[in-house]
């Protein structure tokens, strides 16, 4: 009884406090600039409890941008394993979803889901800030 009540409280807290770490696995920086837009007055995501963090130990959500290159794979895995669970991965942009236009390159492994389990895919090249917010809200609803 007490346990389930605590679980509900914790789930409420997790829904309302999402700290985000963004990681570029080898993209063109377009999506990163769209992610930065989320912090600006126009899109301000702090009103949803979403905050940008710099350390993977503090983060709940890993926002990945860009196709996963051979070089970035170990780094991506390392960052993900440094995050304390419960944790979620969001693939931002077409490259991050599938590998995008770089899929056939021999240095590209594909989308983020070739390395990590992805919870939300946000398409677009680059995706609009509104789309990123919608993706994050979808994630919040599924927590």
């Amino acid at each position: 009884m007490f346990r389930t009540a605590m679980d509900r409280v914790y789930r409420w807290a997790q829904k309302n406090s999402i700290w985000v770490l963004s990681f570029n696995t080898g993209g063109c920086n377009g999506c990163d600039i769209e992610i930065l837009d989320l912090l600006t007055p126009r899109y301000d995501v702090e009103r949803l409890g979403i905050m940008a963090e710099a350390s993977p130990r503090h983060a709940d959500v890993l926002l990945c941008t860009g196709p996963v290159t051979r070089q970035a794979r170990s780094g991506l895995w390392q960052i993900y394993s440094q995050m304390p669970s419960p944790k979620w991965v969001v693939a931002v942009g077409s490259c991050s979803n599938t590998g995008g236009m770089f899929l056939d390159s021999e240095t590209v492994l594909g989308g983020v889901d070739s390395v990590l389990p992805v919870d939300v895919y946000i398409p677009g090249c680059p995706c609009r800030p509104e789309a990123i917010i919608e993706g994050l809200v979808n994630l919040i609803e599924r927590i």
Binding site: A13, Q14, N16, D44, R47, R57, H58
Partner: protein
């Protein structure tokens, strides 16, 4: 017995400090958001952050000292909560004694030293850098802060915060006589709280999150609580030392005026964060020793000459 337990656990103690700390964090973030024309966080944001961190896995890098990593945030929390009990709230202080100002100054320095140690023991490059920076910053702001805070004590002729705050009913608020000292104390407080523009030890773009880079989950939650309560105690302390109106205004108004002044202090701190850019560590050391210390000594000299 029951009375002391109430003092410790409810009113000037843990519960009151925690609630004030949450209010401080929310109000500060909201103000900074409004300064940047954003909407800002919702009112329950600090509570949600805290509970979220409690629900997370507790991870530390291999090579970190687990015992010290668990003990340091708890020691700091104990130190700031103890300091909170000794600070009078609108003239009410159940545990006041002669010399408690010195004890509070010491207790408020404990989190900084623990922060340095936390950086050293958590086995990460950014943590060690942040820890070293925090110690260097400590040596820059602490001396002018101490000299500035001794101004009200010298003027009142006592080291008890309650006496200093009540003597202002006769002499008038000390901020009128020591404006420079007050400004120096605010700068020192910003340095102590490691807030922007003096957030050198935890500069996001330089050392990730400073000493706390490798801390997550419950430990990070306790560290955040420590920072909030440290801010609250520091603000209450400055209000008591420099601008205590509790003996001047009508007794009914003493409590509202006290909290209004505290809120104004949060406003000042947030505005400083929103307006100024971060200093480099050498700039801070230069500012501390070449500008703030001489000004503080000058203020102290004026105070002593006024008393003669």
């Amino acid at each position: 017995m029951a009375e002391s337990l109430f003092y410790l656990l409810i009113f000037p103690g843990i519960t009151f400090q925690l609630v004030c700390g949450w209010f401080f964090e929310w109000f500060d973030r909201k103000l900074q958001a409004r300064f940047q024309r954003r909407v800002g966080p919702r009112w329950f944001q600090p509570l949600a952050d805290l509970l979220k961190l409690f629900s997370k896995e507790d991870l530390l890098p291999s090579g970190a000292n687990e015992f010290a990593a668990a003990a340091l945030p708890l020691i700091s929390l104990g130190a700031v909560l103890t300091a909170g009990v000794y600070v009078p709230i609108a003239g009410f202080s159940p545990a006041s004694f002669e010399g408690d100002l010195i004890v509070i100054i010491f207790l408020l320095s404990v989190p900084t030293l623990a922060y340095y140690l936390a950086g050293i023991i958590s086995a990460g490059i950014y943590s060690v850098l942040g820890g070293g920076r925090s110690l260097l910053q400590f040596f820059s702001y602490e001396v002018p802060l101490l000299i500035a805070l001794s101004g009200p004590a010298v003027m009142a002729g006592t080291w008890s915060i309650r006496e200093i705050s009540s003597i202002q009913a006769e002499m008038g608020p000390f901020v009128l006589f020591q404006p420079i000292g007050f400004i120096l104390a605010v700068v020192g407080l910003i340095g102590k709280l490691k807030r922007s523009p003096l957030d050198i030890p935890k500069a996001k773009s330089e050392v990730v999150a400073g000493s706390l880079t490798e801390f997550g989950g419950v430990k990070l939650a306790i560290w955040n609580t420590v920072m909030n309560i440290q801010a609250v105690v520091g603000i209450f302390l400055l209000v008591n030392l420099y601008s205590s109106w509790s003996g001047i205004v009508a007794p009914v108004l003493a409590v509202p005026v006290f909290f209004l002044e505290s809120v104004l202090m949060i406003f000042v701190l947030s505005a400083a964060s929103a307006v100024f850019a971060r200093l480099r560590i050498d700039q801070l050391a230069g500012l501390g020793w070449k500008v703030l210390v001489p000004l503080a000594l000058l203020q102290l000299l004026v105070v002593i000459l006024m008393g003669v």
